[in-house]
């Protein structure tokens, strides 16, 4: 015993005292579902790819993005970005410009010629994809990456579907479509253009193990309007499709568009660009009830398009030139439905374009047993399979929510289900995480953007609103915009939990490795959870 005088015990460390035994509540690291991801119709892991974009690793961000969506440059232009509407940052200042960063990543990929990762080992299965629109292209892409041979039959002479024949160039330049389609073809997907499938059952006999239908909705709906000169009455689908032809459609100086969806807006803005002095949208209900997105309406109004609310067209082709139309004013009844008022107005017009929605040409499905359609829409189950086993469908023909992004989501979902079906399995999607609501965040740690940053922010906001006019983000502001992401519900390694623990009970595992609790010493005070900026720590009761 060589202890000093009056000392009976050796010095010890408090590490011998396992304070974890005090705990009644236990902190656990969780990943919660950010609202952007929860809202994305294409099922993108937005927070996930923004995390890589934040560190300036754009290629990694792009590779993460295309895990779910092979068309980021198209999506960064044509998507109506419901993610931004759901973004928690709107409660602090403004939503993160997800759409503009996506576009930046898509453009970077085209600029640098990034290719998709090579497909998994070939399965030997062949899948027929009908239609080279967003749904078909996405399904083919995912199938190919899963090791199946995808073969696309496309009736038109170019791939793209409604992205090419429905969305005007000023919103989606055609070289962008070409580049992203080519990248999918480079993966080994086979594309046969000018190949219309008249009979699905026949086509399947060419050695296909399954089929995905994504033929879209290309037949314009008509409304009966008495017209003196039918030449002057056009439909939106043919006008927009005509823009892809040799000569642009002749609409005249005064164009009236009938309808209230995004297509009506597209036609009215296209008419303006074709030189129409007046481009008037006639819609039977109010602005609040209009199905078109508000920012599209706003852009159209800024470009000089005028809109007549609460109006229906009762007669067309009235004048000698054959274009004038008669409009009846409407009033909303108690239930919010428009009712005629008997008040009429005559509008001078050189042409009338009907934008009243589209139907699908379902004739190719005539001989498929078990396949059910209702109101012109193919009925599918949760895995996108039709009533005929092995035949799946998606995009505009399989739902009423008709956007490019929804179609991409359908294509992905169907491809995964087809992959499972080909292996005689059932595709089980991963269980969804709990939603990362605004209340779960500790926004104290976010809100102090230095003042000098503010004007930059405003410039970016303006750019994303006028994308087609001002172009995309450059590297500097794309990085800034990405870094505005709050990383809701997912650890971004801010070290807060590691710092604020009074008991050193958080172990920092190093870059990219996140953190771990040391339950030997964690007393369960819960400070880490309170001070976690992004709500990635849950506190659960211990079994006592």
């Amino acid at each position: 015993m060589d202890k000093p005088f009056a000392i009976t015990l050796k010095p010890g460390s408090s590490l011998a005292n396992h304070t974890g035994s005090w705990r009644t509540m236990r902190p656990v690291y969780v990943d919660r579902l950010p609202p952007c991801n929860a809202t994305c119709p294409a099922g993108e892991n937005i927070q996930g790819w923004l995390l890589h974009a934040e560190s300036g690793d754009y290629e990694k961000a792009w590779r993460s993005l295309v895990q779910n969506n092979p068309l980021p440059a198209i999506m960064g232009r044509a998507c109506y970005h419901p993610c931004e509407g759901a973004c928690n940052r709107t409660r602090l200042d403004e939503a993160v410009g997800i759409n503009s960063v996506e576009r930046f990543l898509g453009d970077e990929a085209i600029k640098h010629g990034w290719k998709f990762d090579a497909p998994a080992k070939a399965s030997g299965k062949r899948v027929l994809v009908i239609g080279a629109g967003p749904a078909g292209l996405t399904a083919a892409y995912h199938l190919q990456r899963l090791g199946h041979q995808a073969v696309i039959y496309e009736a038109a002479e170019h791939a793209g579907g409604m992205m090419r024949y429905g969305i005007p160039k000023y919103r989606l330049p055609r070289d962008i479509i070409d580049a992203e389609v080519q990248r999918i073809l480079d993966l080994g997907v086979e594309l046969r253009l000018n190949t219309k499938v008249a009979n699905l059952a026949e086509a399947m006999k060419e050695g296909f193990d399954a089929a995905f239908l994504g033929v879209g909705a290309h037949i314009a709906k008509r409304a009966y309007i008495p017209a003196g000169d039918a030449d002057k009455v056009l439909d939106a689908v043919s006008v927009l499709r005509g823009m892809e032809g040799e000569s642009a459609p002749l609409l005249g100086r005064r164009v009236v568009v009938y309808g209230g969806g995004n297509t009506a807006i597209d036609v009215a803005r296209t008419a303006k660009r074709l030189g129409a002095e007046e481009s008037i949208i006639v819609y039977r209900r109010t602005r609040e009830k209009m199905p078109a997105h508000d920012f599209e309406v706003e852009d159209a109004l800024k470009e000089g398009v005028s809109i007549k609310w609460l109006s229906t067209i009762t007669e067309a082709g009235l004048s000698e030139t054959g274009g004038d139309i008669m409009v009846e004013k409407m009033a909303l009844d108690a239930n919010g439905f428009p009712q005629p008022t008997g008040e009429y107005e005559r509008i001078e017009a050189d042409s009338l374009v009907l934008a009243l929605g589209q139907d699908t040409d379902l004739s190719l499905l005539d001989n498929v047993p078990g396949l059910v359609t209702a109101n012109g829409i193919v009925q599918v189950d949760a895995s996108m399979m039709t009533g005929y086993p092995g035949v799946f469908a998606g995009g505009d023909m399989a739902g009423n929510d008709r956007t490019v992004t929804v179609a991409v989501g359908h294509g992905k979902k169907a491809a995964r289900a087809i992959d499972a079906w080909l292996r005689n399995e059932q595709h089980e999607p991963d269980p969804k995480h709990e939603l990362a609501t605004f209340e779960r965040l500790n926004t104290w740690y976010y809100s102090d953007a230095p003042k000098t940053v503010r004007p930059v922010l405003d410039i970016i906001r303006r750019q994303s609103t006028f994308e087609e006019v001002l172009g995309g983000l450059d590297e500097g502001n794309a990085l800034f915009e990405a870094r505005r992401c709050l990383s809701c519900g997912n650890c971004f390694e801010c070290d807060n939990c590691y710092g604020v623990c009074p008991d050193n009970a958080v172990i920092k595992l190093g870059p990219g490795q996140r953190f771990q609790f040391n339950y030997d010493y964690c007393k369960g005070c819960g400070m880490c959870a309170t001070e976690c900026p992004c709500g990635a720590i849950a506190v659960v009761a211990e079994d006592i």
């Binding site: 408090s14 005292n17 009074p502």
Partner: protein, 332 residues
């Protein structure tokens, strides 16, 4: 002042670290090799602000002195929960003093090091508000007056907490403690008594005086680092909420410190040679109720008949701080 201008950074400068920051821009606490001066296994209550504040401050001091540091520690919570014989949580040379003489012990250590020519070894004295503002005040004032080369850190939780929450001269007005009970016409601690030692330290015109809270880590580390870069008597008072004595959830310790600063109840500033040189501005001003209401020690103010007069008096004290230290104005 103390905040690093880190641009284009999603969470401003208030998080402990971040994977996107260069290592030199991160706080000491973000470092995987931080000293952990006060190690795991100590017996402080769940969510103890003092244990957190002590590790923040001493890790920063260790970092600033190249780990050449000795601490003298007054009796009090910090000593009791960190060193039950024969265990210690301290991973630094550490001496336990009496309750009232830690400033004097530190003075002696600094003198001995000077005699031995060990100028690279620096001295810190630390204690709670009881050991600092009450019992050890004579020794502290002497240390200031002689300008001894010691950084004295006071962890202010507003009372004698481990002995059962008795009043100290740092207990705020109206707060309930075991010795200022919530009874009578003016329940809780009396108005107009107690003392704010940072102001007294400034009156000694020592080189450096600062206040900080556990809610602003970067500010705290900046001040400790700055203090260790100076010689002579220096004093830092750190507000460390006490879940036990304040009656707040253990998860809300940092939140309470943040509210104390944002309401103006606790002014965060630094002073050199007796003059205030910088203050930490209020980011988002809040009424004092936001700070008072979550604390059970003020529960008697929010009963069936809220004591609006008392709340107004506390608000007046906060407003006075805001005026006096210019906590809202731009510029300083």
């Amino acid at each position: 002042m103390s905040l690093q201008p880190i641009k284009f950074y999603q969470t401003g400068t208030f998080t402990v670290g971040n994977r996107l920051l260069a290592p030199e821009e991160r706080s000491v606490q973000a470092n995987m090799q931080r000293t952990n001066s006060l190690n795991s296994g100590h017996r402080a209550c769940q969510g103890c602000g003092e244990a957190l504040g002590a590790r923040y401050a001493i890790d920063a001091a260790m970092n600033a002195t190249n780990r050449q540091l000795i601490a003298a520690n007054a009796t009090g919570c910090l000593e009791v929960f960190s060193t039950p014989y024969p265990e210690t949580s301290w991973q630094i040379p550490w001496i336990h003093s009496l309750f009232g003489n830690t400033a004097a012990v530190a003075t002696g250590m600094a003198a001995a090091l000077k005699v031995k020519g060990r100028s690279e070894v620096r001295v810190v004295a630390q204690g709670g508000d009881g050991g600092t503002t009450d019992i050890g005040f004579g020794c502290l004032s002497g240390m200031f007056e002689r300008n001894d080369d010691v950084l004295y850190i006071c962890y202010d939780n507003g009372g004698y907490m481990n002995t059962g929450v008795q009043r100290s001269s740092a207990t705020p007005p109206a707060a309930r403690t075991a010795t200022t009970m919530a009874v009578g016409d003016a329940p809780g601690n009396v108005f107009g008594q107690g003392k704010f030692v940072p102001a007294i330290a400034m009156a000694h015109e020592i080189p450096y005086v600062a206040t900080a809270t556990v809610a602003d880590l970067r500010d705290l580390e900046y001040k400790v680092t700055k203090a260790m870069g100076m010689h002579g008597a220096r004093y830092i008072q750190i507000l460390v909420p006490c879940p036990l004595g304040w009656g707040t959830p253990s998860s809300d310790t940092i939140r309470m410190a943040r509210l104390a600063k944002e309401t103006g109840v606790f002014p965060v500033f630094e002073a050199e040679n007796g003059e205030v040189t910088a203050v930490l501005k209020i980011r988002k001003r809040l009424p004092v109720e936001e700070y008072l209401k979550p604390q059970k020690r003020y529960a008697h103010l929010f009963g069936k008949q809220p004591r609006v007069d008392t709340i107004a008096s506390i608000q007046a004290l906060a407003d006075k701080n805001i005026r006096k230290y210019k906590l809202l104005e731009e510029g300083i």
